[in-house]
Symmetry: C2
Subunit: 433 residues, 2 copies
């Protein structure tokens, strides 16, 4: 008997159903690790009306020159002393000053271009950037590198506020979260395109974290703001913990209610021991699956945006390794596999490209860094996609680091649940060619 039914579905459900179908086909083909690229154009990528914000905040990075200057001025040293000190370390004072000048010139270029269009501009150093600036602005420009973009995004919790990154030092910064480098010195062109609607919105999916259990502390530490040393990092954690413990009493600071942390991760969440040389112990459950005890160098859970960042570096293979695998494969199978430089390069590139997936993808990608697999510990899958990952800390002095910049204590007994939600998107811009 055939039954015909009309089912009411939202556009997003239809999109997801198509995705599921594509994924099923993909899985059947056996390439479960490949990201799937949906050919269904989502609402976010259709052509737009022009965008011309009335008020723009330009958030600028702190250059290394400014940083060293502040650091040594604080110690009571003169500019001349700074030069000497840098020289002794093999660093170049004039090099730092040059990069600083390039950055400040580029910022000026951006600001002038905006003002020429009658846009009200507020230039804000990273230290002064806060929720008030976000509320004031119609759009926010990050003037720096990817780190500055991550900082800017960290205070934008709404999915409606546009954020645009401009790479102010293309020679030093990769800038993959920023506009193409040609717009750095030709910013009016970028403004023109925005005005004319020759761009599309890209809603970058971000990660949210729920924290519960013992040993948690919902107060974070900012790693970038003061370029904290390890000591200051832990001290900062300890102070916030002590405050928290004094208020609740130590033995009774047991199962705290689940808190949704006030952060949204644009790149990744990294969980592991704070001390880089110490192994991390934890338990992990993927998509509500069984808990698995693991020992490793840490766990990375990234977004599509972050799949080009730290996660990429954790998982990518060097040609050297790919060549060795293919050679062994060749000798094991006895087949005459051609192993010239080109083939090795192509296989390496294809492998590494498969690690990258779309910023608007609703999935997380988890990677276990340097899993320690032996008689005692095991690991079913080293990495994969998921909707949800739960981690229980068995660590001594660990942290959960958001986008390499904000750190939460995550010690023995704490449980983090990592997931995504549509409302956590960040509205960014992709300029059409």
């Amino acid at each position: 008997m055939v039954v015909c039914a009309f089912i009411r579905m939202s556009r997003r459900s239809v999109v997801n159903l198509v995705r599921l179908g594509t994924r099923a086909v993909s899985l059947l083909k056996g390439s479960s690790l490949r990201p799937f690229h949906t050919s269904v154009r989502t609402a976010s990528s259709q052509p737009n009306a022009g965008f011309k914000p009335g008020k723009v905040a330009v958030v600028t990075k702190t250059t290394r020159y400014e940083f060293e200057q502040q650091r040594y001025l604080y110690a009571g040293l003169s500019e001349e002393d700074l030069k000497q000190l840098l020289a002794m370390k093999g660093s170049s004072y004039s090099g730092l000053l040059e990069r600083h000048t390039i950055h400040t010139n580029n910022v000026e270029h951006i600001v002038k271009s905006l003002r020429r269009e009658g846009i009200e501009v507020r230039v804000v150093k990273r230290g002064e950037y806060d929720e008030e600036v976000v509320r004031w602005a119609d759009a926010i420009i990050s003037a720096g590198g990817d780190g500055t973009m991550l900082l800017v995004a960290s205070k934008v919790l709404s999915k409606d506020k546009p954020v645009v990154g401009v790479n102010t030092d293309p020679e030093r910064s990769e800038g993959h979260l920023c506009l193409p480098v040609r717009y750095t010195r030709a910013f009016p062109e970028a403004l023109e395109k925005l005005c004319r609607g020759e761009f599309r919105w890209l809603w970058r999916q971000r990660i949210r974290v729920h924290l519960e259990g013992t040993g948690i502390n919902p107060i974070s530490v900012d790693l970038h703001e003061q370029q904290l040393s390890l000591e200051q990092h832990s001290q900062a954690h300890r102070i916030t913990t002590m405050d928290s413990q004094q208020r609740t009493g130590m033995l009774h600071d047991s199962f705290s209610k689940t808190s949704l942390l006030p952060i949204r991760s644009l790149n990744e969440i990294f969980i592991g021991e704070s001390l880089s040389s110490r192994a991390s112990y934890y338990e992990i459950s993927v998509d509500d699956g069984p808990w698995e005890k693991q020992k490793s160098s840490g766990l990375s859970i990234c977004t599509g945006t972050g799949s080009k960042a730290w996660s990429y570096n954790i998982n990518k293979l060097a040609e050297q390794a790919v060549e060795e695998v293919l050679k062994i494969g060749k000798s094991q199978t006895g087949l005459d596999i051609p192993l010239n430089r080109d083939i090795i390069e192509m296989v390496t590139d294809e492998y590494n490209e498969s690690l990258v997936f779309s910023p608007d993808d609703r999935r997380l990608f988890y990677s276990i860094r340097e899993p320690i697999v032996n008689r005692v510990f095991s690991s079913s899958r080293q990495r994969g996609f998921a909707s949800r990952v739960s981690v229980r800390s068995r660590c001594w002095d660990a942290c959960m680091v958001v986008d390499g910049g904000t750190s939460f204590e995550f010690n023995d007994g704490a449980i983090a649940t990592i997931s995504m939600s549509e409302e956590d998107q960040l509205r960014t811009v992709v300029l059409e060619h």
Copy 2:
């Protein structure tokens, strides 16, 4: 014209010449990454006269139970409070106590076996173990896991003092530096074999480090002794630096003479930012080659012994990755490569086994962990063998960690030269079957 000459050579030179030959053949065959296994038996592996030390020091680890007890007793908590606290964190008090009992029973078994043979025994906790104990003992037994073995080795700078590791908790500890697990409860058998000469000496080559340049501090911090948190770690570094600076004056603490550090690494030297989430910047020169600027998650330089430890975890591939490489190789070449579970497992195993080399090998193995290769940074080789590696720090708050246990400050301007010398060997035992 043929010239015949008799050349006087030491046995070791002959061995090295054969090795060079074997290596040259190996390189010509194109498998430069494979370790070479010399078939020439070195002096260290010939049968021996029996070994029966008069005085043996047994160095014991601190069990997790003892550790938690000390930690909470210090906080003024009772045993009952300890139980509760552990339960709240999801840990098991009875579990910890059980493992503690297993360890102490095994230590007792070892000590009794030794005394029954008329050997004078001194049982020393890790906190009490020092150079005086090393001088007193004819041989040292490490009673714990691999960590305890590394600690024991760290204070033995002579290549003549035998060190033997016994794994006192085989269910929890990998023990790859220890005797096979069957000897843990059958220690008299091991003693019997030692007595009868049914064993061979294995001289494990270790690493030495020279430090020079600005920002160095030859005083180290012990990571294990107090299970230091990040804060304590950096605080300890800072205190030793301040002492040093007060003595020499800050601006004039410039190019210090090269110091040979009083440590010999049995597993590896790890160089990188102390904070696990921060990228490391440095310059590296291999075998006096050109300096290369790099950005990565750190650098590991290991011995043959250490090639099964952290370095192994950095470089090994999961079946998941090998499968993907072979699949892509298959699709790129169009060849019908069989990709069943067995083949993938065999290729993975062979690849991973090639990362391990002999503990008495005179070479270092360097690995760049998660190299960041982009428009700005490059990396010629991700890993390889060398006789010598020099590293110049461009880090903010980095350290050089020896065997995961001893940490030296290694900041911007410091230069470390890592090499091996015959006198740095550690005398250990391999029991024959």
